[in-house]
């Protein structure tokens, strides 16, 4: 099909509908409102589908929980402060092994922060975020096309592993327009997931719950979750490498920061500097094996994030001392341009005598 010019938020909405999303629950917050509005326009009138503008992000995520209980593909979206409010529900979804898709178009923080793009919710997204021991799959898109593709992948992964999946975007991705192509047509029939609650007809009644008064039982639930997380790590870890074959310095960045870094690296290459890019696509599971492998030949790394240094800790853990890690961060919603990042790369390159 032909490419369509779309803003990132709307592209997520269209991709979600084509992925068979049946229910969307949201609450207004900038910079993700176009997604809520897209669903109000395009999902709410579809047969068998539901859209609710909830009274709060807390209510919205609990509506997602309910829709997932009933076997529907369900989704919510928000931006950083709103995602904090959703953490309670995400913890329950993870505990009850319920699929759901949660979009976070990050903005500057902490507190009310700013409405400009940031990446400061990396820790929150990749460490579970709410209470208890759990993980969510976290996808880090860096273009409007990827927002569309990853939204579809998110629904599939959520169902496959019975887990909440977070799309960790940001204000730039949500707002900017790019040509996008959708790989699927919307399904005509929406089927309820196996094991969902639809009334105990022709079978015994079912319970979906998290609470137990028996710590040993809960310990086993935790073990069971983490066995699945090990499987996800093995099967679903994805990353992108760009010009690393002969690289002497590798920039590690995710999401929109990786896009900016790529621009900087192209410029560096034209000046003869051997710089490459490593981009984690799944932020959880983090692609630590490819980094470890790379550290056998490449010793100098620069982590660039639009925060004060969060993913850099995962890079250090992955390299386990087998490489030197520098960090460049721009928090608060500041969006550096490729030439600023290029200056930082260039300075490090010459300081370390890589020329």
């Amino acid at each position: 099909m032909a490419k369509i010019l779309m803003d990132g938020n709307s592209a997520i909405g269209e991709a979600a509908i084509r992925a068979g999303c049946q229910c969307y629950f949201g609450y207004p917050i900038t910079p993700q409102n176009e997604l809520t509005e897209y669903m109000a326009t395009h999902l709410s009138r579809r047969k068998g589908c539901a859209f609710v503008q909830a009274e709060s992000e807390v209510a919205a995520i609990n509506m997602v929980y309910g829709a997932s209980v009933a076997g529907a593909r369900a989704m919510t979206s928000s931006s950083s402060p709103g995602i904090s409010l959703k953490q309670e529900g995400i913890s329950y979804l993870a505990a009850c092994e319920l699929p759901a898709v949660i979009v976070n178009m990050q903005r500057g923080g902490p507190g009310l922060g700013s409405i400009s793009a940031a990446q400061s919710d990396y820790f929150q997204a990749t460490r579970g975020g709410g209470h208890g021991d759990y993980r969510t799959i976290v996808l880090g898109p860096s273009s409007v096309q990827e927002l569309a593709d990853m939204t579809m992948r998110a629904f599939d992964l959520a169902d496959k592993y019975k887990i909440p999946v977070i799309i960790l975007g940001d204000g730039v991705l949500g707002q900017m327009k790019e040509p996008v192509e959708f790989s699927r047509e919307a399904p005509t029939v929406l089927l309820a997931r196996d094991g969902s609650l639809r009334g105990a007809k022709g079978r015994s009644s079912r319970i979906i719950k998290t609470f137990t008064s028996n710590p040993s039982e809960l310990e086993e639930i935790n073990w069971s979750l983490f066995r699945r997380y090990t499987l996800i790590k093995k099967e679903e870890t994805t990353c992108e490498s760009f010009m690393i074959d002969d690289a002497r310095l590798v920039v590690v960045a995710f999401g929109i920061a990786a896009r900016i870094a790529k621009g900087a690296i192209k410029n560096m290459r034209s000046e003869g500097l051997k710089v490459g890019l490593f981009r984690p696509v799944t932020l959880w599971p983090f692609p630590d094996e490819p980094l470890k492998e790379m550290s056998k030949t490449i010793k100098q790394y620069l982590v660039f994030e639009m925060n004060m240094g969060q993913m850099v800790e995962d890079v250090q853990l992955a390299l386990a001392g087998q490489g030197e890690v520098a960090f460049y961060g721009r928090p608060g919603g500041v969006i550096p341009n490729p030439s600023e990042v290029a200056r930082v790369i260039s300075r490090l390159y010459y300081q370390k005598g890589l020329k």
Partner: protein, 251 residues
Amino acid sequence: MKPVYTRPKSLKRTPFHYCPGCGHSVAHRLVCEVIDEMGLQERVIGIPPPGCSVFAYNYFDVDMAESAHGRGAAVATGIKRAYPESVVFTYQGDGDLAGIGTAETMHAANRGENITTIFINNAVYGMTGGQMAPTTLRGMKTTTTPYGRDHILEGHPIKMSEILSILDGVAYIERVAVNSPTNIRKAKKAIAKAFQVQLDGRGFSMVEILSPCPTNWKMTPIKSWQWIDEEMTGIFPLGVYRDVAEKISAD
């Protein structure tokens, strides 16, 4: 011989964990009787809350999904919107519905969600050990109002049936009590009506049940029944607070 009293089909053969004299067991039984008599067991999805009735799913033989504290109405909204053929009820305590979940309850009611709420008001946080609830009476001693609830510092008992009854999305609200055979029979009728309202697609329905908590009230079960008549119904009068006859058209 014709049996005149049996265990409802939708009530599992599991001994209740509730304290002697607790109103939950009566309320559970009434809901199950109604589910049986209306033939809803295969359609019902129940939402029990954190609190004393967190184990409600061990007793109700229907599909059930636990909710986070106070979020029952939002969870029920999600289920009902995803699967409108279901008959969804929340079972919530006073801390759950009138404290931490006030927003979810108010807005689900105001949207006219086609769900039924069974609201157990025993004026106290039971499971956590008898702390002040939003519905604790003035002067009433709890573990967090050891000198009695002082309305200057701690506010007044909140009247949810009255508050919700002015919302346009609400179809039916009645406050009942389970402290005498007569009242228990009335409570069952109200529960049946609330489910019928949902089946008719008329909007949000709720039955508030004044329910004894002898353990945390530090009374005998008999005294706790009397206390509902003598003290609670003065603040929380029994009766129908809203009953909208017309059917809301679902286009």
